[in-house]
């Protein structure tokens, strides 16, 4: 049964890729859509990787953009300074970006061992801001003007492959004994320790893995745009990713994917509203949260759901 499910997923992944390929290569897709494919995939990677910390480990962090930025800078610096063919250069850049971010994930994981909830949130927010202000004052990476002249070698195929790798790795981790340990820590740290779950190790692991993919996503972001600047990776960016995770459902990978798609496309589709765009986005955010989290509404939905089940 499990194998069957995997085959279905693989089939879906291939069909979606073929669909993208067809839409882009035949020119059916608008420029707008073609252009949005990579950002959507970047956001999926970010949301899914953040979900590992927020949804599965149950720790609130507001510094995901920080991981993304160090990854982006490390990976893109490598491609700038290196002159290898893209086939060799790109994978190395992604790995360098990922590993650098992972190192920062390890460092930021340390306070997560001691702090919880809102305190951890503010500390991770602080880490993100520290990274940003250091990047701002580092002239060798372009300072506030950003790192320019990155070869634009990120295309939708590369992005798609990376996204699929991210999805496979994270969902496989979640559905393995390691993932169970991470979820056990989320549900009850004391009980987890009492059955021998190595809390320190798994907390660190979740932070490192999550940071790794955020870093890879950052490299992809840079490779796609050709320029990265510190101001992009401020805490608003972290919040943007967090909103995707919360909206998609904590600990729900499919939800993160859908939320990332919707929230990336939504502002673009709202362009016609011009000045009212941000207002509408804010309202949509509030209404969606009220709808998805209000206890009365949640109960109502569950009743509806239960009825359907019963009807079958």
């Amino acid at each position: 049964m499990k194998n069957k499910k995997n085959i279905i997923y693989a089939a879906i992944a291939i069909i979606i890729y073929l669909l993208i390929f067809a839409l882009v290569e035949t020119g059916t897709a608008s420029r707008q859509l073609q252009n949005l494919i990579v950002p959507v995939l970047v956001n999926i990677m970010l949301a899914v990787s953040l979900n590992l910390i927020v949804g599965f480990l149950g720790e609130l962090t507001l510094g995901h953009a920080g991981f993304m930025s160090v990854g982006a800078y490390a990976g893109c610096l490598f491609t700038i300074s290196c002159d290898l063919p893209a086939v060799i250069e790109l994978p190395i850049a992604f790995i360098i970006g990922g590993l650098t971010a992972a190192v920062f994930g390890f460092i930021i994981g340390i306070p997560a061992l001691r702090l919880k909830g809102d305190y951890l949130a503010i500390v991770t927010l602080g880490f993100g801001e520290i990274i940003r202000s250091i990047l701002n004052s580092m002239d060798i990476v372009g300072g506030s003007g950003g790192l320019k002249g990155i070869e634009k070698s990120g295309n939708y195929t590369v992005a798609y492959v990376l996204t699929i790798i991210t999805l496979i790795v994270i969902s496989n981790v979640i559905r393995s004994c390691h993932g169970r340990s991470i979820k056990a820590i989320r549900d009850n740290v004391i009980a987890a320790e009492s059955v021998g779950v190595n809390v320190v190790y798994y907390k660190m692991f979740a932070f490192v893995l999550s940071a790794f993919f955020a870093g890879v996503a950052g490299v992809l972001y840079g490779q796609n745009l050709g320029i990265i600047k510190p101001a992009t990776f401020d805490f608003n960016k972290s919040i943007e990713i967090l909103v995707m995770v919360v909206l998609g459902g904590m600990g729900n990978i499919k939800g993160s994917i859908i939320a990332a798609i919707i929230l990336t496309l939504l502002p673009e589709l709202l362009r016609d509203l011009a000045d009212y765009r941000m207002l509408f986005y804010a309202l949509a955010l509030i209404v969606m949260m009220l709808f998805s989290s209000n206890p009365t509404l949640v109960e109502f939905r569950q009743r509806l759901f239960a009825k359907k089940e019963g009807g079958k």
Binding site: K183, D187, I190, S194, N198
Partner: protein
Amino acid sequence: MALVDIKQLGISFGGLRAVDNFNMTLEDGQLYGLIGPNGAGKTTIFNLLTGVYKPTDGEFYFDGELMNGKTPIQINKKGIARTFQNIRLFNNMSVIDNVKVGLQNRHHYSMAAGILRLPKFGKMEKEMTEKAMELLKIFDLDAEAEQLASNLPYGKQRKLEIARALATEPKLLLLDEPAAGMNPNETAELMNTISLIREKFKVSILLIEHDMSLVMGICERIIVLLYGRVIADGLPDEIKNDPKVIVAYLGE
């Protein structure tokens, strides 16, 4: 040699002496009861034995090894597992996954095997599923294996906690009020289950309980705690008739 050897164990919280001069010897395979009025320090002793609290004085030997200062994880690996007074399940995980987390203590595969789905992963997961189902069957939880733990009724949650503790293959099982909130029928059933697992898993048990019928019914020895001190230690019949114990429970 005794499985558990506790010598003059004690802990203070600030000025409060929660447990003082606690001595106990538990032989392999024994079922020991730990009783006492509320606030006597019973759960504190469990916390000391499982490394949640660090004792301020005294020594605790398990299987001949000094356990003072070891972390809960190390202690669990050595073979002590416990349940909690206020149930602590992994609420948002399925019943079977709760047990599997316990099993992982002894059944492990590498990260690479998990991510790349190497043959080892399939083999171990299959083995774990089988073992977990076996355990769940003992506790009559096999029908609910795929349910969320939080959706189980209270009595079954208590059972699941015991199943999870057993999954770590302990030599010593600490049960903190396993019959709390159960009706007499459920309690009777629980007594059977406890006897059964003693037989089947060859595990020693230390048990905190207020339900005297259960304690007197299954415990081989009983230790009585009052204000952090041991006031009696002996066979159920001795305890039943100990004037100090009667005073402690009924007042003078």
